[in-house]
């Protein structure tokens, strides 16, 4: 098990380097001179020139990359061009919002998606199964932007139950944060909810057809017991993987959700940074998001190894 973990951890370094390399050169390839974009339409040519030199953009690209790499290794991601503050502090400020949003979305998606999937599998080919399948398909297909808007119109504008925008303040109590996060995390989670439901359903169906489940049933065990102790545990392995992968999708979807619900998160920061060519901020942010994504994958893989002893054995674990 330890060997497995160490090996996976070592893989993180080259992956991050590759991510950094890609994003650095992608930012160079997109048209739009950062100095000109940042200074805006009224800028004079001499101001743009001066600003370019100040940013080091007048040096050869490879020199710029080497300098950037050197700085990153010492933990210095530079200063954002739009905010004139440390990239890292800007990211750290917004990280909690995005994590809260993604995790709550995943939570809502899982607590509704998994039971719905199990229900559909056990009532296979019934009206219930049919309705759940259709609903999950709707959930997968609905655009976040539109669904978010509908949620605001219904729950904030017409019913007046929940606030339309913003993140709330923890100093006003936990409820203030919770009531602000319900609508956005529902909007963001709906797609994952659909995917998790469908995945749970098919995974359960497959397991339920296995011989050992039939044997357990034949032994006269209670259906509930068979379902939860025998079937679900095995069906859960692929579901955990899907949930882990969903977190990546959710981080990406957070961009849209944060825009609709005006949440101060990483997604909104990223969009602003790209549109205004704040390359140091984009690079820093991509690196952090990539790191989170890799970390989550690592955790999922480890969990997977725990749930399925075969994987531990394959890596020559201690069992």
């Amino acid at each position: 098990m330890r060997k497995f973990i160490v090996r996976r951890l070592l893989q993180i370094i080259p992956t991050l380097f590759f991510v950094l390399l890609t994003v650095f050169f992608l930012m160079k390839l997109i048209p739009g001179d950062p100095a000109a974009v940042l200074l805006g339409p009224g800028a004079r040519a001499q101001d743009i020139e001066r600003f370019r030199a100040e940013l080091g953009l007048d040096q050869p690209v490879f020199t710029q990359f080497a300098l950037y790499l050197k700085r990153v290794f010492t933990g210095n991601f530079g200063k954002s061009l739009i905010y004139r503050q440390d990239v890292i502090s800007l990211i750290v400020e917004r990280l909690p919002t995005t994590l809260l949003l993604s995790v709550s979305a995943l939570f809502i998606a899982s607590i509704i998606g998994i039971p719905a999937g199990i229900l559909a599998a056990t009532k296979h080919d019934s009206f219930v199964d049919f309705s759940i399948t259709i609903l999950s398909l709707v959930g997968i297909s609905v655009p976040i932007f539109w669904f978010g808007m509908i949620l605001i119109i219904v729950f904030a504008l017409q019913l007046g139950w929940l606030p339309a925008v913003g993140i709330g303040n923890i100093s006003n109590g936990l409820w203030d944060v919770v009531k602000h996060i319900i609508l956005p995390s529902t909007a963001l989670g709906i797609q994952s909810m659909g995917i998790i439901t469908r995945f749970t359903r098919s995974s359960m169906l497959e397991v339920l057809r296995q011989d050992y489940v039939r044997t357990a049933m034949a032994k006269g065990l209670k259906k509930r017991l068979v379902l939860y102790n025998h079937a679900l545990r095995n069906a859960l392995v692929p579901i955990v993987t899907v949930i882990g992968l969903q977190l990546g999708t959710l981080l990406a979807g957070a961009v849209l959700t944060e825009t609709v619900f005006a949440l101060p998160g990483l997604g909104k920061l990223m969009i602003d940074a790209i549109l205004r060519r704040d390359f140091l901020l984009v690079q820093g942010e991509v690196l952090v998001i990539a790191f989170i994504y890799i970390l989550v994958n690592f955790i999922v893989d480890t969990l997977y190894a725990f749930l399925n002893p075969k994987i531990r054995v394959a890596y020559g674990g201690s069992q």
Binding site: A36, D47, A262
Partner: protein, 511 residues
């Protein structure tokens, strides 16, 4: 009887004073779709930042909320030499900085003006007071500024928050963190700033000037304009910075809010290439003007009339706007256009490329132009780009036509110089690389004349020449549309899109 009168009198007085006290307890929430990025005047590059900074910082002079008059703020009075190069400002002696960590609310003096302006010129990525040559402290409250050349709109430039007066002790004491601990001489102090979410200000009770009614002022940042309108309708914000044309009926239908529209200081137009490609042919440009019915552009983009057709570059919000601007306009005449094209040998058709940003209004303008040009046999290819890529293409002189949007102060200089003076060729403003020495001459005369009527005449003359050259096809002027709750009193929508809660002649309160 007398007893009753006394009681009645007391009731009236008490309720009145209670009301007055309430006025001073006003709480206001402003919703904007743009997000401020800095609280350091020397560092700002966008309207969203300048707007919030006006609460903390002050300038020597400032615009009234209707953006028509420039009024003294830190300056009490000023004189200017006849050649418009030496400007002497007498400061008020009772202006104080807010108390901070590094000074305890001392007087604002001429030294501070010198320090602030020199700092702006040294570190700002975009120097707004670049025409300054030297700054001289005459005495504690008198400062003499010499310009490199005569510049009539200098006072306008000084209203820019980039020219705000900052205390040296705080700037140097905080260093890079001054952005997070801004201290100026303004009526509000920054209480909290959760980036991308909200910013809240609290009235500074020892402010040197008139006391603002609003005690707690919050700006809520809501990037999506449709959602911003929903936030206004649901009562989460009291003022919203912009309402999309399609949302106007929703707002007018609600009895508790109002959509207030004023003429904006902006122009959206199609700028044609003056140095390269087919548009260098004057015959073709004449045909293009004749082929397009400009009234249709505004009708398509603004079904709810939050925009008007444009006939010249100077917007109706400017004091130099010419009500007779249509006199130099080449009117719609599709048959005439076809004839010109035929005579000029374009009967086999012609292809042109037009670049636009991804702004929906500008794209609609390009598409209306495309369909009208098609009817006279011109094939207009419309290419829509994201902003950063767009300004690169518009400035590099490769585009046949690009969709320019320009918005600034009401002084015509900020339209005519930046879009038509030959020295700006190759920038986004003059990406068409327009160069007409006669236009240059009138713009320069406008810059260096002290008399407002004379200046109006020069800029109008330049505008007339521009319209006769036909490189600049004006499309529309957008109105500034803000949503205002009926609880908000004393608020004026500004043509420069800045939300002014407290400004010369304006003191907003909430009922």
């Amino acid at each position: 009887m007398r007893k009753y009168l006394v009681i009645m009198f007391l009731v009236v007085v008490l309720s009145f004073s209670a009301f007055a006290a309430e006025k001073y307890d006003s709480e206001l929430v402003v919703g904007t779709d743009q997000n401020p990025t800095t609280m350091d005047p020397a560092m700002y590059q966008d309207l969203a930042s300048s707007q919030v900074m006006r609460n903390v910082f002050e300038t020597l002079v400032a615009y009234t909320a209707d953006v028509k008059e420039i009024e003294p703020v830190i300056a009490e009075s000023w004189t200017v030499s006849d050649d418009l190069t030496v400007w002497t400002f007498k400061l008020r002696e009772n202006v104080f900085f807010q108390k901070g960590k590094f000074q305890d609310g001392r007087n604002v003096t001429a030294e501070d003006v010198k320090y602030s302006f020199e700092r702006e010129m040294e570190i700002s990525p975009m120097v707004r007071i670049y025409m300054i040559d030297t700054i001289e402290v005459v005495d504690t409250y008198t400062v003499k500024i010499t310009l490199q050349y005569p510049y009539a709109p200098f006072l306008t430039v000084l209203t820019d928050i980039g020219a705000a007066i900052v205390p040296k002790e705080e700037v140097e004491g905080w260093g890079d963190d001054f952005v997070l601990h801004p201290i100026g001489s303004g009526p509000y102090v920054l209480k909290e700033w959760v980036k991308d979410d909200h910013m809240s200000f609290e009235r500074y009770e020892e402010y040197w000037g008139e006391k603002p009614y609003v005690k707690n002022l919050t700006y809520k940042f809501i990037p999506d304009k449709a959602v911003l309108t929903l936030a206004l309708l649901s009562g989460q914000v009291d003022i919203s910075s912009d309402i999309l044309d399609q949302d106007i009926p929703k707002v007018t239908a609600d009895p508790n809010v109002e959509a207030v529209m004023v003429g904006g200081n902006n122009i959206y137009a199609a700028y044609m290439n003056a140095t390269k490609g087919p548009t260098t042919d004057p015959k073709l440009r004449e045909a293009i003007f004749k082929a397009i019915d400009v009234t249709q552009i505004a009708k398509v983009i603004f079904p709810n009339e939050s925009g008007v057709p444009a006939y010249g570059p100077i917007p109706p919000g400017s004091w130099a706007y010419n009500p007779d601007v249509q006199d130099f306009y080449t009117p719609y005449d599709p048959e005439g256009a076809k004839q010109i094209l035929k005579d000029a040998g374009y009967s086999n058709g012609l292809k042109l490329k037009m670049y636009t940003s991804d702004d929906p209004n500008r794209r609609k303008m390009a598409i209306v132009m495309q369909s009208m040009l098609k009817q006279v046999g011109i094939d207009l290819e419309v290419i829509s780009l994201e902003w950063g890529s767009f300004i690169e293409v518009s400035g590099n002189g490769e585009a046949d036509i690009y969709a320019i949007g320009w918005t600034w102060y009401p002084d015509p200089e900020f339209f005519m110089y930046y879009m038509f003076h030959s020295s700006t060729a190759g920038t986004y403003g003059n990406g068409g690389r327009y160069n007409n020495p006669e236009v240059d001459k009138y713009i320069e005369l406008g810059e260096s004349s002290a008399d407002q009527d004379e200046r109006i005449m020069y800029y109008r003359k330049a505008e007339e020449l521009v319209m006769k050259d036909r490189f600049f096809f004006p499309g529309y002027h957008k109105l500034v549309v803000m949503g205002v709750s009926d609880k908000v009193k004393g608020f004026t929508v500004s043509s420069d899109m800045t939300i002014r809660v407290f400004a010369p002649g304006t003191n907003v309160y909430v009922e």
